[in-house]
Point group: C2
Chain length 546, copies 2
């Protein structure tokens, strides 16, 4: 059997090595346009910043090492020009010599990845992008003399580069067309991330676009001119479908290659995986683009199983992701609230601000978690986490719970490893389950930060049940202060009508809401407390520039 794998990074290389372990006799050829295969894609920004000092450590394998270990014929600097499906050959060209040849195939796997989008801005030629080792080298070279940089795009790669260029002493501005960075997060979750970026010296221009790139500056839609020795375009990626389209393979309306659950394109001899293909969403089964390395790796390995004749079926994707931003860990899984609202899907929301581990053990750090729950079925629809230690753990546990069909309320029952250095006897994930269960069974009612204005306008009384000191340090306008520990004695001070209570993070508010409810009052607890309200309203109050 002749197998040709086009694209030698995450998906392609996972497929090639797996295929060899399943079939010692096959001829397996890997075609890679860039000069390197199997490089550490997700490490590239950190080489730019010098965190990964040694460039060689990005090169996990070489054509020679792959030849020795796996008997692979790996051809770098080689472009797949065309797939001739009739004659079953892939036409390839060596970039250095221009030599063209034909490789016969029984099966082809397309793993070409995605290309950085290059926005049609005058002067865009000067903007660098980050996709491969060559791009990385160019960025390292260009950043050495640079004092200022503008990064167009506030997504994962844009922010990783913002951190790493800052590390090099460069003054970085991120220009983002949306009114927040990191689209996968909801606004109240992203607010502390944006604060943290600014605190670390990164300037943000939100709701702004670049209209022109000059030789040493960029011009924004607002007219503002930003100095920019270096310009990086990181506005997203687009499936690399040239080869597939030229070969007449079907693509979807999102612009990715269409494959079935066994990764077969419209030509069953040609499979495709990774950032180039459209995937099926785990929540609604719709087509989605999820350009993530872990998904590409998994798909590559499964496609090899298919190519070798084993049983293998892809699963719909949740899109669990994480990014480190100046020490902050920001992770998400599933859908966010924006998307649920847009889809009109009835949902419940839970915000918490737990500690990474027992507060009495030194080093505990606060995190913020958000859980999104199906209002009808109690299914977990998504989660977001922002903090430091342990954020990745909680999002991974929730992603696993979603995969296992564990309901939001049942998170309360998970038995997670507890010692005071590592968690709490009631882990943050269990706490999310407690709150979700209370909402589901009607034990308590909550109000979201963005619903407060309407509730107050409709005549609700807002009661701050924190201490006088906390209230003095920052309060929601119009809130009446009645500390929770005095509430039972001071019930008659609360004016008639529905009541919204709040504390700092939501826990005392829960107790207060219960006291009020049992006293015959209609009471709701402000979800996530002052902390979430403050984050949400400060995000909303941001005056977009441009």
């Amino acid at each position: 059997m002749d197998h040709i794998i086009i694209g030698g990074v995450a998906g392609g290389m996972s497929a090639a090595t797996r295929l060899r372990r399943l079939d010692e006799d096959a001829r397996i050829t890997v075609i890679e346009r860039s000069g390197h295969v199997s490089f550490a894609n997700c490490g590239l920004p950190y080489h730019v910043g010098g965190v990964i000092e040694d460039r060689e450590s990005l090169l996990l394998q070489t054509p020679a090492s792959l030849g020795r270990r796996f008997g692979l014929d790996v051809r770098v600097g080689t472009e797949a020009v065309r797939i001739d499906r009739e004659r079953r050959v892939v036409v390839v060209r060596e970039l250095a010599t221009g030599a063209v040849s034909e490789l016969p195939y029984d099966q082809v796997l397309l793993s070409p990845g995605a290309r950085p989008v290059r926005p049609p801005i005058p002067g865009i030629e000067r903007a660098l992008s980050l996709r491969d080792i060559e791009d990385t080298d160019a960025l390292v070279t260009a950043s050495a003399p640079a004092r200022t940089a503008v990064i167009i795009g506030g997504g994962f790669i844009g922010l990783e580069l913002a951190e790493n260029l800052t590390r090099r002493g460069i003054a970085v501005t991120v220009v983002e067309a949306a009114d927040q960075v990191m689209a996968p997060l909801d606004p109240e979750m992203v607010a502390p991330v944006q604060d943290h970026l600014r605190a670390n010296g990164v300037a943000l221009r939100l709701g702004a676009s670049v209209t022109a790139i000059g030789p040493d500056s960029v011009t924004l839609s607002s007219g503002e001119q930003l100095e920019a020795d270096l310009v990086v375009a990181a506005v997203g990626v687009r499936p690399d479908t040239r080869l597939a389209e030229d070969a007449g393979l079907e693509t979807g309306r999102l612009g990715g290659i269409l494959v079935d659950s066994r990764f077969r394109t419209s030509d069953p001899r040609i499979l495709a995986v990774g950032d180039a293909v459209e995937k099926r969403d785990a929540l609604d089964g719709e087509q989605v683009l999820v350009p993530l390395a872990n998904t590409a790796n998994r798909q590559g390995r499964m496609a090899a199983d298919v190519m070798a004749g084993l049983s293998a079926h892809d699963r719909p994707v949740l899109g669990t992701a994480i990014v480190g931003i100046f020490g902050l860990r920001v992770a998400t899984t599933g859908w966010n609230e924006k998307r649920l609202v847009a889809a009109g899907r009835p949902h419940r929301v839970v915000h918490t601000h737990p500690s990474s581990h027992a507060t009495y053990y030194p080093g505990a750090e606060e995190m913020s978690l958000k859980l999104l729950v199906d209002r009808d079925t109690d299914a977990i629809l998504g989660a977001q986490g922002v903090g430091r230690e342990g954020v990745d753990k909680r999002i991974d546990v929730i992603a696993t719970a979603i995969a296992g069909g564990i309901t939001a309320s049942a998170l309360a029952d998970l038995e997670l490893a507890y010692a005071p250095q590592f968690g709490s006897a009631k882990d943050p994930v269990n706490l999310l389950g407690y709150v979700a269960g209370n909402l589901r069974t009607g034990v308590t009612r909550s109000l979201q930060w963005h619903e407060l204005d309407d509730a107050l306008a409709a005549g609700a009384v807002l009661v701050d049940v924190r201490t006088a000191e906390e209230h003095a340090a920052g309060a929601i306008p119009g809130a009446l202060l009645v500390p929770v520990d005095e509430l039972r004695q001071r019930l008659d001070e609360i004016p008639p009508g529905p009541v919204v209570v709040h504390c700092e993070v939501g826990q005392r508010g829960h107790t207060a809401a219960q006291v009020l409810t049992h006293a015959g009052r209609e009471a709701r607890n402000l979800d996530g407390g002052y902390r979430t309200w403050h984050a949400g309203t400060s995000a909303r109050k941001l005056v977009p520039v441009g």
Copy 2:
């Protein structure tokens, strides 16, 4: 309604506060024999070691604060003497005054916890134990002048105390009757833990017991005499059932209070939770004792739901646990191999030694994972992890997968948050799934470290496929060195007969086994490689003292 809760720590206090939030009108009285409620049970060893410097931070709540916040009548220093079920009163005695009184009840919740076992050794009066704040104070006082300590028992608390007394400059010896510390771990997983304890100055006496405790030494079964300014008994705990038994409530054959899935004892007006009750095992449904804080907390909260008339049912327990040992994280969930073997349950075993995060990103640390899988159903039966960063995360993910009914092979499909600082594109949990899947589908065959001797005796050839340098640094006796990258060319050097291949951690061995299998050889890969074999055989070779 009059609710009396006996025991004011994990389970009892979770119940009391939850009950108040569900029922503002109930009279809730908490009876606690010691001088403190709601103290940080799991933090006690770390106060002894000075990690948690401030004693006050162990006291999460006081009777006064609980009175103010939750309207609880909390009575510390008060013993529940007797439950008179006929007259529905609990007889209590104030320890300071001896004053006896009767408290009427509608419902009682027993959460008395477990008592440290005091082995019947001459001189045991001198041994301290660790259960409450008073014990902690005593240990702090006694350890101040001590230069040497003997800890009887190498379980979680024994080892936490070993670390914390070492921190105080005390020379610690742990005496353990079994031939390993930490019974929940299998021997090859515990070997590095024991090495680490010794490297940190803790002496171990395994397979040894204390026969006598003198005024400044202890005598072991071997005759050895150990200096011991301080002696601690940490040989385990036993459900505190005195009150329950006196009241004629049913107890089980393991010595715990028997309750149904709604925590009701044989008297439906009396509920019980926590370390004092027998639980149902998640794997076989049998009764078990699982004295863990997270379980006690969860049960307490659910028992409050039952007492308040809500729907709530306990779940069987997995017993997920973790302990920190001089920076090492040691975590387990579900059953271990010893228990599966003893129960005759057909299983598969997977050992891996992955990195905590991508190796090309600085700071990656190796961990060891073990997965136990049902041979018939592919269900996950248990897991163990030893390492540093990220061990807790992987065990939590696996515990969640078990709860969600995710099979071992399906761990491969979990979408976990990946960036190079936090994981790998193929996460260690995914890798366990890959190996489990390969074993299940017969793509590969493996051999366990303890099966090697028999295989060799039966005529198998052992091939080390590592590099010559690795081989020279430590090899399995009799292994033939053929590096994996040369294997295809040197197949004819391998003598006839079945082959066992091994590398350092199992990954290259897998590739080598595939090469050999395709060449028509009967080949098995030594699971976990040299690393697991070395750990397992070094554990086995330990000469028990005593």
